[in-house]
């Protein structure tokens, strides 16, 4: 029998509520992270900010530039190219024959004056031009294992073509880098008094301690048909062969200096220095130039005006920009965040696409 009643109308909602309480709500939990409302700083490039930034850069850069230029100017540097001069005139047509010959006299004496007082220590460098110590074949041609310990003596797979002698015994130190060791020598004297050049501590301590073993002695070195450069005293362990260690820190660029030694005494202005150069190293085959460099040092290293000039230029340019922006701002300001500038407010018919 049918019946109608108000009570029966509650059936639907009742079921509905029991239903929804049973199922777990999947509503994502509110957190500032998930709603992407983390507190944030929203910098905007306002004219004030930008002008201030450029002024700040200028203020930082110009003094640095001045300081480094000043420091660079204070460095006294004597650079003397000798590769051409040290070939006797009779060999000027065939420099290669001169340098490759074992009988020619390679000694060459040069004089130069000290322009300004040089406070010790005065660093003695040799500088090579057009010498690609960063050449891929060259850089790879070494065996760090062999250099580090005696146990690695046979680890010469990377050293070709200077890995073994003709009868297959390993060369220590192997590889092109060691083979082409620079071997010009310099002897200095002032007023017939010999200037002592210290060759101690010219290499990195870290290299001496960890990269070049104290139990590794040169073996079969420079014994092949082609002589690349200097020879090594077979009774001194590699860790003490500082010239070699310096040489084996391969230079980054094709024009580079390497430290030869240090003169601990001061050199006075107008001192006449006599250098006796043993011109052994062959750069003539590839047109490389050799220079002897005497230089004092400062907090920015050697003499190099580039950084100072660069800093001054950048600093000046920034100040210039700052002034330019300031003028521009004064002449043509724009109110920030003005909705009137929004494209649909400027152009009532909407954005043309």
């Amino acid at each position: 029998m049918s019946s109608r009643g108000a009570a029966s109308s509650s059936g639907g909602p009742q079921l509905g509520t029991s239903d929804s309480s049973k199922r777990i709500s999947k509503k994502p939990k509110y957190s500032r992270f998930t709603q992407q409302e983390l507190p944030a700083c929203k910098p905007i490039l306002t004219p004030g900010w930008v002008i201030a930034t450029f002024i700040a850069v200028g203020i930082v850069f110009i003094p640095i530039g001045l300081a480094s230029l000043f420091a660079s100017q204070r460095v006294v540097e004597i650079v003397h190219r000798y590769d051409e001069e040290c070939v006797p005139p009779i060999f000027s047509g065939d420099q290669l024959a001169f340098i490759q010959s074992s009988i020619t006299n390679k000694t060459c004496t040069k004089n130069f004056t000290v322009p300004k007082q040089m406070k010790g220590p005065v660093y003695v460098y040799y500088q090579l031009d057009n010498f690609y110590q960063n050449h891929r074949r060259y850089v790879k041609s070494r065996s760090d294992k062999q250099l580090r310990s005696k146990a690695g003596e046979l680890d010469i797979s990377t050293c070709k073509p200077e890995a073994t002698t003709g009868n297959n015994s390993p060369i220590v130190p192997c590889g092109l880098i060691a083979w082409s060791l620079f071997n010009d020598t310099y002897g200095f004297s002032v007023k017939n008094k010999v200037l002592n050049v210290s060759k101690k501590n010219i290499a990195w301590k870290s290299d001496q301690e960890h990269k070049f073993g104290s139990d590794v002695y040169p073996k079969n070195f420079q014994s092949g048909g082609l002589i690349g450069g200097g020879k090594l005293n077979a009774s001194i362990p590699l860790s003490e062969q500082e010239d070699l260690i310096v040489w084996m820190r391969t230079a980054a660029l094709p024009t580079f200096r390497k430290l030869y030694g240090k003169i601990e005494t001061d050199l006075e202005a107008n001192d006449e220095i006599t250098v006796v150069i043993q011109n052994n190293y062959n750069t003539y085959s590839f047109g490389g130039r050799k220079r002897l460099v005497l230089s004092t040092t400062s907090w920015i290293g050697g003499k190099n005006d580039f950084l100072g000039i660069a800093y001054l230029t950048v600093g000046g340019f920034c100040i210039f920009l700052a002034i330019g922006f300031l003028l521009l701002y004064v002449i043509k300001p724009r109110p920030l965040g003005d909705p009137a500038f929004l494209s649909w407010n400027r152009n009532p018919s909407g954005i043309m696409n």
């Binding site: 109608r4 980054a252 580039f306 909705p339």
Partner: protein
């Protein structure tokens, strides 16, 4: 009961409730004496309501355990149509037809049915579930497609760089050809006097080229693809977790179903929306009814819904949902056959209760004396109608394949269902043939008005017909969905004729659908009109506002619906899609020629309207600004002639001039056709949103497909790229998340190109100083870690977390969405600008140290360390300049990366086995190192900083102005969040 496993097709098997079927099988019998089995097809189409499947009466009582059943089933070849199945079965010499209602598919579960016996017809890969398993077509984001062009350009750069290096190396080798044996740094000959590692100039150059490819290959940012995936996962996480896109009603979060088109959401130009279930709730409410020419408006009388219940076997049964009733009609229906009016009311409600495919399910409630009746069915309209019938005392109690039981005003009556012609989209109506208890045979038909008026006997009751027609017009102008109900008594001879042809048609294997349609049309004619029902299709919450926002954002919203034109237009008005200011162009044609003509006229007219107002285009902008926007309304019949013909182009021209396009009466494939029409003709991005199976094709066709997890099952969700609960979330999805995603991804791609290119150029410059031999100053470890540790994390974190504008601003100014439509964050111009900047930056960090150290005793590793530190600081600062929101994570990750780089470089230089041992410690002691670092980074960044400032200050884009407004704007615009922000900022910068 024992279970028999199947060995192959044709084996009989047993199944118990609650288990997933492994094959497609034809039902033979079930635990239900009438042979009904309820199945859940949630695995197949996602619909959670129960569907009914029937065992054939002839096989119902055959038990394979007890007797041997022999028979032959002939079925069609395996296909992927899960809603169709044609087969016949010969048992005991009788030929029985089998249809989709007799088969249970793989993946379905039996529910409310203890057991079922069936014959496997398709197994394994041939099951319909597996054949449908092709998955959605893979979509690739527009940004990524553009990016691939730029990657090709980068590849050309790479090849150019390698060619330059090779050519220079060739020149060098030729110039030094005679010296190669002696060069201390080359030494072609080894100690044995043979060439060492040297072949000839040609091969050497080839090796140089290949080696340069290896060294410079990071120009192609492989890591970018990985970063992009990570960023998309992060973006998806935030979209899913957005509380603003959580739907309380369906308890569903936003779903990211595809992970590779997040950024496309920021560039949408066209939105194609389904109406039912998308714009509207698809919760049908029985609102008004017209019976025999009299309009009964329950809504007017404002009567509280009253539950109707019946008592069966001492238990009260009541329907799950209550419906508002009209008291006058209620009285009439209670009086039953007493009056002429009552007779019509009786027939009308009997038709509503009977003419459907609803299955009543009786469930227990908390009250033991009460039972609840739940009407399960595939169509929400039918559900609403059956609930309405129940409220007026015609409660459907039971339905089997053979009969239905209806409780009419407390009296149980059994009607034999002699035949049922299901709804199909051609006829647009369904009919049921009932054998009434008084032995008469009646056919009840219900369907759409257009199809019904064609089959109604016009000679009878003209007045009533007219009255009903005017009621229908009223209803549909209110936005109600209408159905017309008609009936006819069948004479014995008519019934016999129908019965034989129905039997014949339903056992046919080939062309059964067409045959059945013919049989149906034969019986569905000369009907007597009973009345019409009107169901309200409620608009979803927030739809008008969402459409308004989208329109302001410059997104064109097209509505594609299967509904009637009047309904579509009324929904258009109520959803603010159409406004009274708009000029409507309606295209309703029945031939190609007339279509052509009306299209041409329409184009002329729209042009005229445009020129009169002096507006060439009104896609963006506010509606007030362009006085006469045009709305195009076109129906499916016209589209039949237009789509896939030369008229497509004209339609597109017309449609692109209109601000609103409404397509009504469109079939699912036409929806896809319209999407394709736009997609193929413009570069603009399209988005399709829908909730039903009929939207699947359109969702898959559009660049971005969005499924609404609503009432009409889950097929749309399954096919979609994103799924959400409500249409209005589209605003948050596009204007907020889409904008963010696009901006983030666009910036990230450019930044990654820049980041890798700057490194490559740095390496390239150095190669020029090494006799073109591809030595790298930067240690191999550092170059490897560059894109893994040194610079990877900031770009990913910024890509996930950075935000150019707050949600509040983006919602306030929907026009800001235009940034994505105009490709403002990633385009060819930006790419080339970035590349020029890259060149400058790499030059700055390379040449400043180079000149500072030229002719000094610096070693290769120290200089390499300087360069790698400079480039890492540079690219991280570059990112820092562009970061818009600095949260603590951004700080941590940017400064952390720089610190991590210092640590890594230090650790690498502390390994004695490497060439650069201790270099960083040594070089860091010198002032030149730090000065070079500072100068190269600052010099590298100055041009970008200047250009960025000038551009932002003197030619600001909308986003920039909005950002400033967010920060400095007049205080009434600044919300509390912004005030908090400035408090955190502390001292005002300006």
């Amino acid at each position: 009961m024992p279970m028999r496993t199947i060995d192959g097709i044709g084996q009989t098997e047993l199944r118990i409730t609650g288990e997933t079927l492994p094959c497609d099988m034809v039902l033979l019998s079930t635990s239900d004496p009438t042979g009904v089995a309820y199945v859940q097809t949630v695995n197949l189409d996602g619909e959670s309501n129960l569907k009914t499947r029937y065992a054939k009466q002839e096989t119902l009582f055959k038990m394979p355990e007890k007797e041997k059943v022999t028979g032959l089933i002939k079925c069609e070849k395996p296909n992927r149509n899960i809603y169709g199945f044609h087969a016949n079965m010969e048992v005991d010499g009788k030929r029985l037809s089998l249809g989709p209602s007799n088969i249970i598919l793989r993946g379905c579960e039996l529910k409310n049915t203890e057991w079922g016996i069936g014959v496997a017809v398709y197994a394994g890969r041939e099951t319909k579930a597996m054949l449908n398993n092709s998955g959605a077509p893979s979509k690739r984001s527009r940004l990524e497609t553009h990016m691939n062009i730029e990657i090709i350009i980068l590849s050309l750069f790479l090849i150019t760089l390698c060619t330059i290096v090779s050519a220079c190396a060739l020149a060098w080798l030729l110039r030094h050809k005679n010296e190669l044996n002696y060069l201390p740094y080359y030494r072609k000959k080894d100690s044995a006097g043979e060439d060492y590692n040297y072949y000839n100039v040609g091969l050497e150059i080839l090796f140089t080229f290949l080696m340069s490819v290896i060294v410079f290959q990071i120009m192609i940012p492989i890591s970018l693809y990985i970063s992009m995936e990570l960023v998309r996962v992060g973006q998806a996480y935030f979209m899913i977790r957005d509380t603003k896109m959580y739907d309380e009603a369906s308890n569903s979060r936003f779903q990211c179903r595809s992970l590779n088109i997040n950024e496309d959401l920021g560039q949408i130009k066209y939105v194609f929306s389904d109406k039912t279930g998308t714009l509207t709730e698809n919760k049908m409410e029985f609102q008004r009814v017209s019976i025999w020419g009299v309009d009964y408006s329950g809504a007017k009388s404002q009567i509280e819904p009253v539950g109707y219940s019946v008592q069966v076997e001492g238990k009260v049964i009541k329907p799950k949902m209550n419906v508002k009733t009209d008291p006058e009609l209620l009285q009439l229906s209670e009086r039953r056959n007493d009056t002429k009016e009552g007779r019509h009311v009786y027939d009308f409600f009997l038709a509503l209760a009977a003419c459907n495919t609803i299955v009543p399910l009786v469930t227990d409630t908390s009250d033991p004396t009460e039972k609840m009746i739940d009407y399960q069915g595939e169509s929400p309209d039918e559900q609403a109608l059956v609930y309405a019938a129940a409220a007026y005392g015609f409660m459907l109690i039971e339905r089997t394949s053979g009969y239905i039981v209806i409780d009419i005003q407390g009296e149980r009556q059994r009607f034999n269902v002699l035949g049922l012609h299901e709804f199909d989209s051609d006829r647009k109506r369904m009919s049921v043939i009932l054998g009434c208890p008084d032995k008469s045979v009646k056919v009840f038909v219900k369907g759409a008005d257009t199809s019904m008026f064609g089959v109604i006997d016009k000679s009878l009751n003209m007045n009533i017909l007219r009255a009903t027609e005017s009621h229908l017009h009223d209803y549909s102008s209110l936005g109600l969905r209408t159905l017309v109900v008609g009936m006819r008594q069948l004479s014995a001879s008519e019934f016999e004729r129908w019965h034989s042809s129905f039997e014949e048609a339903s056992t046919a294997v080939i062309g059964r659908a067409a045959l059945l349609r013919k049989v149906a049309s034969a019986v569905e004619n000369n009907l007597c009109i009973l009345g019409a029902s009107a169901i309200e299709d409620k608009l979803q919450q927030g739809v008008p506002e969402a459409i308004e926002s989208l329109r302001i954002a410059g997104v064109k919203v097209w509505v594609l619906t299967g509904d009637k034109q009047e309904t579509a237009i009324s929904i258009g008005y109520s959803s603010k899609l159409l406004t009274s200011k708009m000029t409507q162009i309606v295209i309703n044609n029945n031939s190609k020629e007339s279509c052509r003509k009306s299209l041409e006229d329409a184009i002329v007219m729209s042009k005229k309207l445009m020129t009169v107002n002096g507006v060439t285009d009104n896609t963006g902008g506010s509606s007030e600004a362009s006085p006469t926007p045009v709305a195009l309304i076109i129906d499916g019949t016209s589209l039949v002639y237009i789509l896939d013909s030369e008229l497509e182009e004209q339609l597109f021209q017309l449609a692109s001039k209109c601000s609103v396009v409404l397509c009504c009466r469109v079939a699912p494939l036409q929806k896809a056709g319209i999407v394709a029409l736009v997609k193929n003709r413009t570069a603009d991005m399209t988005l399709a949103i829908g909730d039903g199976a009929n939207d699947v094709s359109m969702i898959q066709m559009a660049d971005v497909g969005i499924g609404i997890s609503g009432q009409e099952g889950r097929q749309a969700v399954m096919a979609s790229d994103f799924a959400m609960g409500q249409f209005r979330f589209l605003v948050h999805l596009l204007l907020v998340h889409g904008h963010w995603n696009y901006q983030r991804m666009g910036y990230m791609i450019l930044y990654n190109f820049y980041r890798n290119a700057v490194m490559v150029f740095l390496l390239f410059w150095f190669v020029l100083c090494t006799a073109f031999t591809l030595t790298t100053a930067i240690s191999e470890w550092s170059s490897m870690l560059y894109s893994i540790i040194y610079t990877s994390l900031p770009t990913i974190v910024v890509g996930i977390l950075d935000k150019d504008l707050s949600r509040r601003t983006l919602l306030k100014y929907p026009q800001l969405y235009g940034a994505g439509q105009r490709h403002e964050c990633y385009n060819a111009k930006l790419f080339w600008l970035t590349m020029v900047d890259t060149l400058w930056q790499s030059a700055a960090i390379f040449f400043i140290p180079l000149l500072a150290y030229w002719g000094s005793s610096i070693d290769i590793s120290s200089l390499g360390d300087l360069w790698i530190l400079a480039v890492v600081i540079l690219v991280n600062l570059h990112l820092a300049i562009d970061v818009i929101r600095w949260t603590w994570t951004t700080h941590a990750v940017i400064w952390g990366s720089i610190i991590a780089t210092f640590i890594c470089v230090t650790v690498i230089d502390a390994l004695p086995s490497l060439i650069g041992y201790w270099a960083i410690f040594d070089v860091a002691k010198t002032a030149t190192f730090w000065l070079c670092l500072l100068a190269s980074v600052i010099v590298g960044l100055i041009p970008r900083f200047v250009v960025k400032y000038l551009y932002q200050y003197y030619s600001p884009c909308d986003v920039q102005i909005a950002r400033e407004a967010e920060k400095f704007g007049n205080l009434r615009e600044v919300g509390d969040v912004q005030i908090e922000m400035s408090a955190i900022l502390g001292p005002q910068r300006r």
